[in-house]
């Protein structure tokens, strides 16, 4: 039985939080299969931290042409690594980049691919996983019948679990060609120094109840105090008050944060589906009949323009005391 391969994502040389979660997941699968975990990393400053989450071997790629994510080239490298390691299971995250490359890897390896997996495999023979379907309105228990399996782990579902090992890195140089770079990145326009919806522990989200884009200052301030990412409902993005990349819900980005704070969002079924994987939900809305009150853990019936500034003030005090 050859090692479980895990793609550990990094950005500017630092591993993302999801890298430790997928490494932990890979370790759980490896335990079930009686094997070890090999990670593949691209231009990481140091691979040592991966050992903390159960990785024993790292295929380390140092290649300037891979500094910016390129789905086809990365997929080629991961496929080559899987073949070299004889891996029967390849683990990726649910980031936008992982979801871009996973189908390419799966098609190259003639592997079955299940994204949005929320728990360790129920069984490894047949290989059976639990994944979200119908935009979090249901779960499917899915068997994968191919020799090689590609598993996409849902963000913030399995968690990062320490399993102290020592990761030994070895240099890996996949045989990339120009064809792997036929689709090129020209420019990346990304918020820097701020949590993203995909990675954030806390997401603060605003809806039409905020009345206009000029009122987003308090949403951003609340997010700053909490170290949270900002998000919005579909009508807000449709009205152009906020960019598409902040739209969360069934046809927007899914949210799986620890804490989701909905302000002035009524809670349409499509919105609730997209955010339901979040662990704790708070709603602030003037309308006590808003459907969000049925889906949330904590709620305040009140005017956002009065409640949110008070919440910001109190949170600042709380943060100062608990710093």
């Amino acid at each position: 039985m050859m090692s479980v391969l895990v793609y550990t994502e990094s950005e500017n040389g630092k591993f993302k939080k999801s890298a430790f979660e997928v490494a932990s997941y890979a370790y759980a699968v490896a335990q079930q299969l009686g094997t070890t975990v090999t990670a593949i990393s691209f231009n990481a400053d140091s691979n040592d931290t991966l050992g903390t989450y159960g990785v024993t071997k790292v295929l380390n790629i140092s290649n300037d042409s891979l500094k910016t994510f390129n789905a086809k080239a990365y997929a080629h490298a991961i496929t080559e690594a899987a073949k070299k390691e004889g891996s029967q299971v390849v683990i990726v995250s649910s980031s936008t980049d992982s979801k871009y490359l996973a189908p390419i890897v799966a098609a190259k390896l003639k592997a079955g691919y299940t994204p949005n997996v929320v728990t360790a495999p129920d069984n490894t023979s047949p290989f059976k996983v639990k994944r979200t379907v119908f935009s979090n309105k249901g779960f499917a228990h899915t068997t994968i019948s191919t020799a090689i399996k590609v598993i996409g782990v849902s963000n913030n579902s399995f968690g990062a679990i320490e399993n102290n090992s020592t990761a030994t890195a070895e240099d890996f140089s996949p045989a990339l060609t120009d064809a792997d770079f036929a689709t090129k990145s020209v420019e990346v326009d990304k918020v820097v120094g701020k949590a993203t919806i995909a990675d954030a522990d806390i997401v603060v989200s605003g809806g039409r109840g905020l009345k206009g884009p000029e009122n987003w200052g308090m949403i951003e301030e609340l997010a700053d105090v909490l170290g949270a990412a900002t998000a919005c409902s579909k009508p807000v993005s449709d009205l152009g008050w906020r960019p598409h990349s902040e739209h969360v819900g069934q046809t927007g980005k899914p949210v799986a944060s620890n804490l989701y704070i909905a302000i002035g969002i009524s809670g349409a079924i499509q919105h609730l589906a997209g955010i339901s994987a979040s662990k704790i939900k708070v709603v602030i809305n003037t309308d006590p009949e808003a459907p969000f009150f049925k889906a949330a853990d904590y709620g305040i019936v009140g005017d956002a323009f009065e409640v949110v500034p008070k919440l910001i003030e109190k949170l600042k005090e709380f943060k100062a005391q608990n710093a």
Partner: protein, 248 residues
Amino acid sequence: MKILVCISNVPDTTSKINFTEGDTKFDTNGVQFVINPNDEFGLTRAMWFKEKQGATVHVANVGGAATEPTIRKALAIGADEAIRVNAEPKDGFYVAQQLAEVVKNGGYDLVIAGRESIDYNGGMVPGMIATLLDMNFVNTCTCIEIDSDTVTATREIDGGKEKISTSLPLVIGGQKGLVQESDLRIPNMRGIMMARKKALTVVEPIDATAATTDVSFDKPAAKGAIKLIDADNIDELINLLHNEAKAI
């Protein structure tokens, strides 16, 4: 330019999701089926290429005869012809193999599929078609411009966007942004009448196997009751979030 828009027949976004036959099948009882929203954005963008750049637009779906109303709707919106691969969509890999065959036989320059279908959320069909046919591929695509064979596209990334240059032949996984929500078209009577006369070709599937099987389904556990906090008692909310929920 020949464009193929791959459409998935999915439950309307407002549908209540239930399972039947001992939780082994999705319960379609009372469910309204629609064009997958991510596909509809792509279809509407394809109409732009048809009207502004003279593209020919075909739509394809893998499904039984029951999906034909959804396919006819795509024709009523303005697609020129439709192809239905007469097979149940067993899984994403199976569907991708069937659609790759359609793409190969039709000689399409651009294949537009949704970044994922809102039923099984696999998000794998466009990437697999591209890989099976060695075409270029842009996922979570929110903007596409084509000048002869040169393509400029934008894709959504976590926390922002990325501008991409590539070339035809190309597959995109599309989503909102390709066109605005307000640009989506509701078929008018003329479109619906014309759609009846347009070709809807039924082809038999190629021999392909599925890689995955959904053995059973279940639903998330019911939620506990909400705790309401008085708007004048923000301290209590912070206390609960800190001590009870351990979320801050």
